[in-house]
Structures are given as C-alpha cells and as structure tokens.
C-alpha cells in the first residue's frame, strides 16, 4: 500500500472484520468468538499499516511474516487475509465445512498468507525465532510479527523463546500480546501470576510497551518501531477486551465457547454500524 488508510478507514475495516467473524461463528457453529473479537484491531493495524506483504506473492522470500500463534482466533486471520486479497472472500462462507480450505484452526499451507498451522499454544514464538534468525543468516530484511494470547503465556515454550530472542539480537522480531484478561476457564491473572506482563518481557530483555489494543492509532504507532532501534525485540502488550465491539459479548467469558444465535448476530451487526447480514442456515447443532 503506497499510502496508509486513515484512522476512520481503519475503524471501518475493523468493524467489517468483526461482523465477518460473528457471521462465521454463527454459520459454522464454531466457538472462540470472544478471542477473535479481542484481536481484530491488532490484526487490522498489522495488516493495513505495518506488514510489507503482497497478496499476489504470498511466498515472496522477502515478505514480512505474521504468525497468529493463538490459532483459535483463526476466523479473524482468515477474514483479514480475504479482505487483504490473499484469497476469495467466498472461502469464508465455507469456513469449517467438510473439505474447506479454512478449518477451525489453520492447517499447514491451508490458504495463501497463512504462515503456520497453529492451535496448540506456545508454538508460534519459537518458530518465529527461527524465521527471524533465518533473515539474519541469509541475510534478508523482512520482519516477523507474532500475536500471542495472554493465556498462551502460560506455556513454558513462550518463555524459552523469550529468553533467547534478545540474546540473538532479533530486533526485527515483534510480538503483540492480546491481553484480554481471560483464558478458557477463568481470569488469566487468577490462573497464573501473569502481571506485571510488560515488566516480565522487559526483564527478559525485550523492549516492551503497553497500548490500548483497540486504539488503532496507538497500535499503528507501536508497530512503526520494528526493527526496534534499541537492538532488542519488541513486545507490545495490547490491553484488549474479550468480545470487543458487541456490548453483550464484551468481557463476558461465556463467549469463549458460545455461538451467537441469528437475532444476536443481527443485534451485533446493528451495534457495529453494519447493514444486516445475509445469513446461510446455521450448521445443525449450533444455536440458530
């Protein structure tokens, strides 16, 4: 993109993406809607203001790499990739149906633009270290960006990678933690002593910043710092709200698993300022 979209344009994109993932959850009967909604703005800022990518050349060796390590938010990634032109938006209507390219969580090379099969947490960052190290060895000047969930920071492999990345001086590597304060069955702070999260990443040798994860201007600003001039990898702790954008889903962890009914989808679209959606018949077993 030669010129970056305006803040209003970014907000419009983000609202559309939210509508898209709500529709997908309803039609496919798939969970993790709250988790998808919390990271939409992170992905919007990354894909529309930061990443140097060309949808026509998804395998360009010099492309920036993006890994959605919290693979359960795959509908957010698929919606972004379709809207950025990596594949036809028609694929989104087949999401999680038999034989579709787009499964509930991404499989290897399932679609152009999907860099890694994620779903088991704690894998994205170690692989990202390898991608970033390869750039130094070969050498190439691409950057690597990873989105992690706060619950994912329970995994030991995340902290193994966190220890090593600064020692390897991987300042072209950045992470965004989608810090929505919930994990599958409880408040993330109550399950493990996660906070102070920024201080943890700093103590591990990263340059760490905290931002409002729904402030697209702030996210854009934070992402401008890759590669970070300090020579350190960058950790953006993004404070987010699970289910963001829909009043009756926000900060309600039931929406980790709940699937929206038809009237809830319509209500959500109205709140997002979107025209009422055309909905296919919901998958049997899902609430309609």
């Amino acid at each position: 993109m030669s010129t970056l979209p305006s803040l209003a344009e970014l907000q419009g994109i983000s609202a559309e993406l939210r509508g898209q993932v709500i529709k997908m959850s309803h039609q496919a009967g798939t969970p993790h809607l709250g988790s998808s909604l919390s990271c939409i703005d992170l992905l919007t800022a990354a894909y529309w203001t930061a990443l140097r990518i060309d949808p026509e050349k998804p395998h360009d060796p010099n492309r920036d790499r993006f890994i959605l390590s919290k693979g359960h938010a795959a509908p957010a990634l698929y919606s972004v990739l379709a809207k950025r032109g990596f594949f036809s938006p028609d694929w989104l209507d087949t999401f999680a149906t038999h034989g579709a390219e787009l499964a509930e969580q991404p499989s290897p090379n399932c679609a152009p633009g999907v860099e890694l099969a994620t779903g088991s947490l704690g894998h994205g960052l170690p692989v990202a270290l390898g991608l970033a190290l390869a750039a130094k060895i070969q050498p190439r000047d691409y950057r690597v960006l990873v989105v992690l969930s706060d619950g994912e920071c329970n995994e030991g492999s995340v902290w193994e990678a966190a220890l090593l990345a600064p020692a390897l001086k991987l300042n072209h590597l950045a992470i965004m933690v989608d810090f929505n304060k919930w994990q599958a069955t409880g408040r993330s702070e109550e399950v493990t002593s996660l906070t102070p999260l920024r201080a943890k990443w700093e103590a591990f040798g990263w340059h760490a910043v905290e931002v409002d994860g729904h402030d697209l201007a702030a996210l854009t600003e934070a992402l401008r710092e890759v590669p970070h001039p300090s020579g350190k990898p960058l950790a953006i702790i993004a404070h987010t709200i699970k289910g963001k954008g829909v009043s009756f889903m926000e900060d309600d962890n039931n929406w980790h698993y709940r699937i929206p009914k038809r009237d809830e989808v319509n209500k959500a679209f109205a709140e997002l300022g979107l025209p009422a959606p055309q909905l296919a018949a919901a998958k049997s077993g899902s609430a309609s």
Binding site: P61, S107, P108, E115, L116, A117, S120, G122, H123, L125, P126, V127, A128, L129, G130, L131, A132, L133, A134, A135, K136, I137, Q138, G156, S157, E160, A161, L163, L164, A167, L168
Partner: protein
C-alpha cells in the same frame, strides 16, 4: 560417534551454506571447528529444547537445513509435540541428532536413558528414524538425512565405540547393510549394538552355526524387502537394540510380521525390558542386566533353534 558427527557436520556445512547447527548447550569444544568454519551458522540455544525444535522448523521454512543436537531423551521426550506439530505436520527437513542414546549414559540414571524414544517417534507420520551402528554409519546417516525432504531423527552413541566398517558405507534410507551371509539365523542389529552383534555372530560360528549379520541404520522406513527375504529364508530372525523390545526395531518388525501370518521365520527380540533401570551401573553392566551380551543372546538363539 559424536566426534564423527561433529566432523561430518562440519564438512557438510562447509559445502552447503543452508546447514545451520543448533545445540542445546551441549558439546563443549566439540563444535569448535564448525564454529570456526561457519561462525554465523552455529547457535547454542541454551537448555531449552522445545524452543530449539520450534526454531529449527522456522529456519527450515526459510530454506535452511537445520540440525539440532543434544542428549537424546531431552531432544525427544521433552519435545514430542514440537517434533509432531512443528516438524512433521509442517513437513520440514529438520535433522534431530540425539546423542548418548539408549544406555550410553547408563551411569547418569534413567533420566538420561532413552530406551523408548524410537517407539515414540516412529509413530509420527513422515519422520525418518535412524540408528547408526558405528562412527562410519553416523556419517552415512547424516548424509542420507540431509539429502531427504522429510524430517529425520538420528540416535547416536557417545564416543569411543569400536568401528565395525572399514570405510564409509553407502547408506540409503530404509536399506539395511549386509555384513555377512549365512543360514538358519539372521541377526538384525540396530544402532550402537552393532559391535556386540558382530561378536555374537562370531560366537555362534564358534558353536557351529552360520548366522547372517545385518546392520539396519534405518528403523523407519523399514527395509521390507530385507524382511521378506529373511523371514522366508531363515528359521530365526533376531533383532538387537539398546531400546525397549516394545516399539523399536523389534517392535516394528513384530507389527510387520503380524500382517503376514504365513511368514515362516521366528522373530526373537533382544532389547531392554518395559522397566526403568534403577541400578547404578555403567553401560556394559546395564547391557548385561538386560541380557544384551553375546553370551546370553547366543544361549537364547541356540534354544530357539533346538
């Protein structure tokens, strides 16, 4: 074996700029020549094996040929899911080299033994599993693994194992090496047991038998052409490995044979039992404990032939 590995990987890396060596904080001084020759392609990843395997996947996705090296149990048991998801599911050509495998580190206790990892790893789709029999086979296995597009696990011993081959054999994935011809008894050796299996062959000869001796540097894929032949031509087929009789070479062949009920040969599996070794001992004593000596194996084979 580990010195042969260090020497061979250095030679390979000099010739192939894609090779990157990752170590799990092991091999002090072992890789000095590698580091000197390829300073930007050696990384000590620390005592953090899961991250090391994930990193290797990322390097391979960018066209590099990473080789991960550390003590066998830590590289395998600890990283099972990284091997499964990052390497096998993504089908990336990463080579894992587990040193001190089997009972090589017997004296360090069962945390350092690896007598189950072949059984565990060979279940993973698309993963080659190799177990070279001497330092020459280590070199051949490494070359074969680096030339393949699948991920590969190679279990090696420590150092100072006797050489069996006089020169470097040509090793192909899934192909056994024949050391001697014979009849009645076929000995199939996996990994560092090879010198003992050669000794077993000589002992059986001294007792009037003529065993055929094979080294199987590859556990997966199995050399099924060899199996078809030996189970048709020999009365007793004995597998020998420093690994549990469950799941390793003997276990693989037992599965293979279960699908061929008319195959006449009888399978005898020599390996470790389904237990942890709690006894404080050296490798030789550990082998003795599990009956992995030529004397004890010869007795069982003679009894099976009676």
């Amino acid at each position: 074996m580990r010195n042969a590995f260090a020497d061979e990987i250095t030679a390979r890396a000099k010739a192939d700029e894609r090779i990157v060596l990752l170590s799990g904080d092991i091999g002090n001084r072992l890789f000095d020549k590698f580091k000197e020759a390829c300073p930007t392609r050696f990384y000590n990843c620390g005592v953090a094996e899961a991250n090391m395997v994930g990193m290797a996947a990322g390097l391979a996705m960018c066209g590099l040929r990473p080789v991960c090296y550390t003590i066998a149990p830590f590289l395998t048991y600890r990283c099972m899911e990284q091997i499964r998801v990052d390497l096998c599911y993504h089908h990336v050509p990463v080579v894992l080299v587990g040193t001190g495998s089997g009972l090589a580190y017997a004296s360090l206790g069962a945390t350092h033994h690896s007598c189950e990892e072949v059984g565990m790893l060979r279940l993973l789709p698309g993963l080659n599993v190799m177990a070279p029999g001497d330092a020459w086979e280590v070199r051949g296995c490494l070359s074969a693994a680096l030339a393949d597009e699948n991920p590969t696990y190679i279990r090696i011993g420590k150092k100072g194992e006797p050489l069996v081959h006089g020169s470097r054999p040509e090793i192909r994935l899934g192909q056994a090496l024949q050391l001697s011809e014979g009849r009645e008894v076929a000995l199939l050796s996996s990994g560092a047991m090879l010198p003992e299996v050669v000794a077993l062959g000589k002992l059986l000869e001294s007792q009037g038998m003529r065993p055929a001796v094979y080294s199987l540097p590859t556990v997966k894929p199995l050399d099924t052409a060899l199996l078809e032949k030996v189970f048709a031509d020999f009365r007793v087929i004995a597998t020998v490995e420093e690994h549990s009789v469950l799941g390793g070479l003997g276990g693989s062949i037992a599965e293979w044979k279960a699908d061929r009920p008319k195959m006449p040969g009888r399978l005898l599996r020599f390996g470790t039992e389904d237990v942890f070794l709690h006894e404080t001992c050296e490798q030789e004593e550990a082998r003795e404990h599990f009956g992995l000596t030529s004397q004890k194996m010869a007795e069982r084979i003679a009894a099976a032939l009676r």
